[in-house]
């Protein structure tokens, strides 16, 4: 009595709901599951699971070490179901790495040049900032799911027909 269990879901164990259309087309609801999208992706593919004009939310399978990324605006990450380390470098010349007028994350080639800013170790449900002007890299010892608040950009992957209920 009075004992409640919170259902978090994970890339390894999730249940999926759905749309029951009465007088509508289920596709209009763009219904997907972030864990399923991540499970079916390659490591660090940034698959859009939500889009509102230029803005996106990306679901990412974190596994091992990611490339370095940077962005001309802030982004934010939530670790949904596991442990991930985020390393940061303050770019010596951020405009050279990323067009300051651009939107969305950019994958950097090689090691970023700049001053180490530190790192964070995230567990389930932890949120961190990916600040403008920095480069960042994820490292996950075990496979888990990241949710990233960003803007549609060159690394955003769109595969709506594959991930959404139709």
């Amino acid at each position: 009595m009075g004992h409640y269990t919170t259902d978090f879901g994970s890339i390894h164990s999730y249940k999926k709901g759905g749309v029951t259309a009465i007088d509508d087309d289920a596709k209009r609801y763009v219904f997907s599951n972030m864990f399923e999208a991540a499970a079916k992706s390659k490591p660090y593919e940034r698959v859009a699971v939500a889009k509102n004009f230029e803005y996106v939310i990306e679901s990412v399978k974190a596994e091992g070490e990611s490339p370095w990324y940077s962005c001309a605006h802030d982004e934010f990450i939530i670790s949904m179901d596991g442990k991930v380390r985020v390393d940061y470098v303050k770019l010596a010349d951020p405009d050279a790495a990323v067009d300051p007028e651009s939107e969305g994350a950019v994958k950097l080639s090689g090691q970023p040049v700049g001053k180490p800013m530190g790192y964070v170790l995230l567990g389930r449900g932890h949120m961190a900032m990916l600040p403008v002007g920095s480069a960042y890299r994820f490292t996950a010892p075990e496979t888990c799911t990241l949710l990233i608040q960003s803007i549609d950009g060159p690394v955003t992957v769109h595969r709506w027909a594959e991930i959404c209920q139709s």
Binding site: M34, N52, L122, M129, L147
Partner: protein
């Protein structure tokens, strides 16, 4: 949902699809000798409550709502600054926000009322109507009752006038400027600042992320326990801004029982189920006819189209990420018919 202030502010051009004039004429009438509650008037609308019910009358109809349902809906309309689009208190009465001006309606979003020509709409300056609504929620909320709280976690709204709960109904919504927990931004919640873990989230880990910032980067290398933060929310169905990417607003919230309004979007609105489960009843935005039922479990992502209204049901307290686009360009796109009803075509 960083709409509390912005939604009240007028845009340069204010949409007025019904071509209605601005209505004035507001009144706060003395307390009733029997119930102790004041009655209110806004234009042709009159509002009265007694021990159990709220009565709304317009020139074309009179409408009765249970006091608890009315107060929970009124609380959200006030806290959200009339929100985005339409706030249906129920299937008959509500408000539509035009960002600086507001239509208040009886039956205008109900097919039966409109076909019977029983619908009625008046238009108000948003700040003037808000002032009356604030006085109403203050006077009609008794001591010990919190319309933001889940029904099992607060007192009862019934009975004659018995004190007030202005501390609860006057809460300021949390709106982080960049991210919760950053120096100078919205603080994290803890026992020490009065936010205890909710009884249904006692199993949510309260561990903190390890933050190793090099000197000088403490304001940028930052993280917090979002799930822990949400487990300590003292309100339900009241999204608060936790992180901001330009106009992209992450507004997570904890949900229990029923969304107190049927929210009729004027733009696409995304829901990301972070934990547990919510069922949404979806109806047509204009007529109220059922369109769909959506069941969301942890990890599910779903967009509410811009032409529907929705109401959620959460049996166990759950965490929902409400994702809003607060771009000031959107009201103009809506006015010009350029805002899409569906977020993604595939």
């Amino acid at each position: 949902m960083a709409m509390s202030e912005s939604a009240l502010a007028g845009s340069e051009q204010i949409s007025n699809p019904r071509n209605l004039p601005i209505t004035a004429g507001f009144a706060v009438n003395p307390a009733d000798n029997v119930t102790g509650y004041k009655s209110f008037q806004a234009g042709s609308f009159k509002f009265k409550r007694d021990e159990y019910f709220v009565y709304v009358t317009s020139p074309t109809a009179s409408h009765t709502m249970p006091a608890d349902a009315f107060l929970r809906a009124l609380m959200r309309d006030v806290a959200w600054g009339f929100f985005y689009g339409t706030v249906n208190f129920d299937q008959v009465f509500g408000t539509t926000n035009f960002y600086g001006e507001v239509d208040m309606f009886m039956g205008a979003m109900n097919e039966a009322y409109t076909e019977a020509h029983r619908d009625f709409v008046e238009r108000f300056k948003a700040d003037q109507l808000m002032e009356i609504f604030k006085q109403m929620i203050s006077d009609w909320t008794n001591e010990g009752y919190d319309p933001f709280a889940a029904p099992m976690e607060t007192g009862v709204p019934w009975g004659i006038k018995n004190g007030d709960n202005d501390g609860a109904v006057g809460r300021q919504r949390v709106t982080a400027r960049r991210m919760v927990g950053l120096p100078g931004d919205t603080p994290v919640r803890s026992d020490a600042n009065g936010y205890t873990v909710n009884r249904m989230f006692l199993d949510v880990p309260q561990d903190k992320p390890e933050v190793h910032a090099e000197p000088g980067f403490e304001h940028e290398v930052s993280a917090f326990n979002l799930f822990g933060y949400l487990s300590r929310s003292d309100v339900t169905w009241n999204p608060s801004v936790c992180s901001v990417v330009k106009d992209s607003l992450f507004c997570p919230t904890s949900e229990e029982y029923i969304l107190p309004v049927e929210h009729g979007n004027d733009r696409c609105e995304w829901f990301i189920q972070l934990t547990d489960e919510i069922t949404w009843n979806v109806k047509d935005g204009l007529t109220g006819r059922p369109r769909a039922v959506i069941n969301m479990k942890a990890g599910d992502c779903c967009c509410m189209p811009a032409d529907i209204r929705h109401q959620g049901f959460s049996a166990k307290r759950s965490m929902l990420l409400v994702w809003e686009n607060g771009s000031p360009k959107i009201p103009e796109l809506i006015r010009n018919g350029q805002a899409p009803s569906v977020a993604v075509q595939f």
